[in-house]
């Protein structure tokens, strides 16, 4: 994979979420949505290091992971529109998506709860000798939930093939990381579990791929879990409708200079810029086609509402 591929992968996520926001504003998305605008380099960089069969677990802010791992875009739109999508039949919506077909163990709406679950996917990989790894993404704030602590220690002691990616966007909803922890970097906690921890620039897909790649290799070799802390910034609110009055003036504007797509654009010569324009246009077309396809999906049949509780 090279730069144009990364750009395309990130642009797809960005465009997807921009259009999602517009659809939300237009009343086409009933539930709450949490965007990863600005954080796209993390799922894209990480996904580069993964194979089919590797598991990914994310949070409610997981659209990027779903797309980067190949979950069908039209299906995602349809799911979030409350339609009978092939993804989760309208039962999950934006914050609790999953797709076994793409080994996407799924999002989770309970902070940190995905980490123990991802540990279980890693257990399966280890016990069946499949060679798969289990990658799980959480936010900086989630590092203070007990579930994450328990899962990390357990993965460490069982040598499970788990990679924890902490997307540190320095906010837990509306609270700053300084009010949440007394450490400079959350990766410092790795030592307490006896596992490696690294901090990387989360706005650079290459840096992410390098660090996650190292952790994935380690995990595949049976050497156990790692933590990769990817530093990034949210370009938007915590959720759709968040006015962000808690963010200092200029913070978002400054972040817009550093975000992964802007960075590539800023460094691009005329030739590359022209290629990126083409990609943008292709991505825009892909996204519009996905929306159109999603709109053709019917709403779920209320008569099926009691299905799927039990086998």
């Amino acid at each position: 994979m090279g730069l144009p591929d990364d750009y395309r992968a990130m642009a797809r996520i960005r465009r997807f979420e921009e259009r999602l926001t517009a659809l939300k504003d237009a009343g086409e998305i009933p539930g709450s949505i949490h965007l990863c605008n600005g954080q796209e380099a993390i799922p894209v960089g990480a996904a580069r290091t993964l194979r089919d069969g590797d598991y990914v677990t994310a949070t409610y802010r997981g659209h990027g992971w779903a797309l980067a791992r190949g979950v069908d875009m039209a299906g995602l739109f349809a799911e979030m529109m409350g339609r009978d999508s092939a993804v989760n039949g309208g039962r999950a919506a934006s914050p609790y998506l999953s797709d076994p077909g793409r080994w996407f163990v799924g999002e989770n709406s309970i902070v940190g709860a995905g980490v123990p679950i991802a540990t279980g996917a890693a257990l399966t990989a280890q016990r069946t000798g499949s060679g798969a790894v289990s990658v799980v993404s959480i936010g900086d704030g989630a590092m203070n939930q007990g579930n994450v602590h328990e899962a990390l220690n357990m993965a460490a002691v069982l040598d499970l093939p788990l990679v924890l990616v902490v997307e540190n966007n320095v906010y837990s909803e509306m609270s700053r990381i300084e009010d949440m922890v007394r450490v400079r970097q959350l990766a410092e906690r790795a030592a307490g579990y006896g596992i490696p921890g690294r901090v990387v620039d989360g706005n650079d897909p290459d840096a992410v791929a390098e660090a996650v790649g190292e952790a994935v290799t380690r995990a595949r070799e049976g050497s156990g879990p790692s933590i990769v802390e990817a530093m990034t910034e949210r370009l938007v609110g915590h959720y759709s409708g968040d006015a962000q009055h808690y963010r200092p003036a200029g913070e978002v504007a400054a972040a817009r200079e550093r975000e992964p797509l802007a960075r590539i654009r800023a460094a691009a010569d005329a030739d590359l810029a022209a290629r990126l324009d083409v990609i943008d246009a292709e991505v825009a077309a892909e996204v519009e086609a996905a929306i159109a396809a999603a709109r053709a999906v019917p709403y779920p049949d209320p008569a099926t509402v009691k299905e799927y509780v039990y086998v």
């Binding site: 539930g31 709450s32 409350g82 309970i110 709860a113 704030g141 837990s172 609270s175 709403y299 779920p300």
Partner: protein
Amino acid sequence: MSESLRYIQAVNAALTWALDSRSDTVYFGEDVALPGGPFGATKGLHKRFGSERIFDTPISETGFLGMALGAAMTGLRPIAEIMYADFTFVAMDQIVNQIANIRYSSAGRWKAPLVIRMQQGYSPGACAQHSQSIEAYLAHTPGLRVALPSTPDDAYQMLRTAVVSDDPVVVAEARMLYPTRGPVRTDAPVEPVGGARVVRDGRDATVVAWSRMVPAALAAADELAAEGIETEVIDLRWLNPLDFETVGASISRTGRLVVAHEANLTGGFGAEIAARAASECFTDLRAPVARVAAPDVPMPAAPALQKAVVPEAAHVVEAVRRTVNR
């Protein structure tokens, strides 16, 4: 004096009252201080009372509910906020095994005067992990008081009662009712814990409801009145202490009971009301007890599906009709 306030403003007013009038109160939870709470319940409080009295915690519900308990045992009067009732489950041990037990297990030598504020219920498009009505889990736990206000006035009065109570109280608010407006008696004396309320008289059937199902039951009663059925509606308000006397007295007049809640049916607190009626009001009952509740499914996110499971006024209407026509 009575002010017209929205439910969520009434919560804010009660919290202002608490921090203002009781120097031993402290308030904490996620995004409650500077941000003013995800729904604005604590708007302005940090500015007014400062970080000594209201502060943000890490995303550590077990940690901060335990902190509330330890603080309450040693002399503070903490109010801890769980952002969505669904998140209670990450901290359930501190509620069931710790907060609820300490007074009893110490033979009354400790007490735990603390409040856990939360809000619950479905909303359009929200997933199963942000939609639950969890009162049955709480009301089965001896040692807790459980309050479910359904009006702005009760959001104010019951929260103040909770703050003053020397027992631990969980106040589970109804998110869907936050925008509703109503008169709030801001200068009323603080009420004692407990007490159901007959919010509409009627001779044909008794509907016992709480939280969001109270306005639904009242709407149902209006509709039923148009067809000549007079429904008595009881807002149960507190599941603990449980005021079954008010319920029983009503059943003795109507002979018919419908219980309505948003939580799913099986093992919901409606079962407790029905069970008491089947035991204590047996000779008064003239028709089978009916329950209106969500069926036993996790909450789906799609509104098309939610419509098929969320109990509304129409379900109450139907249940009362069925009961009266027996």
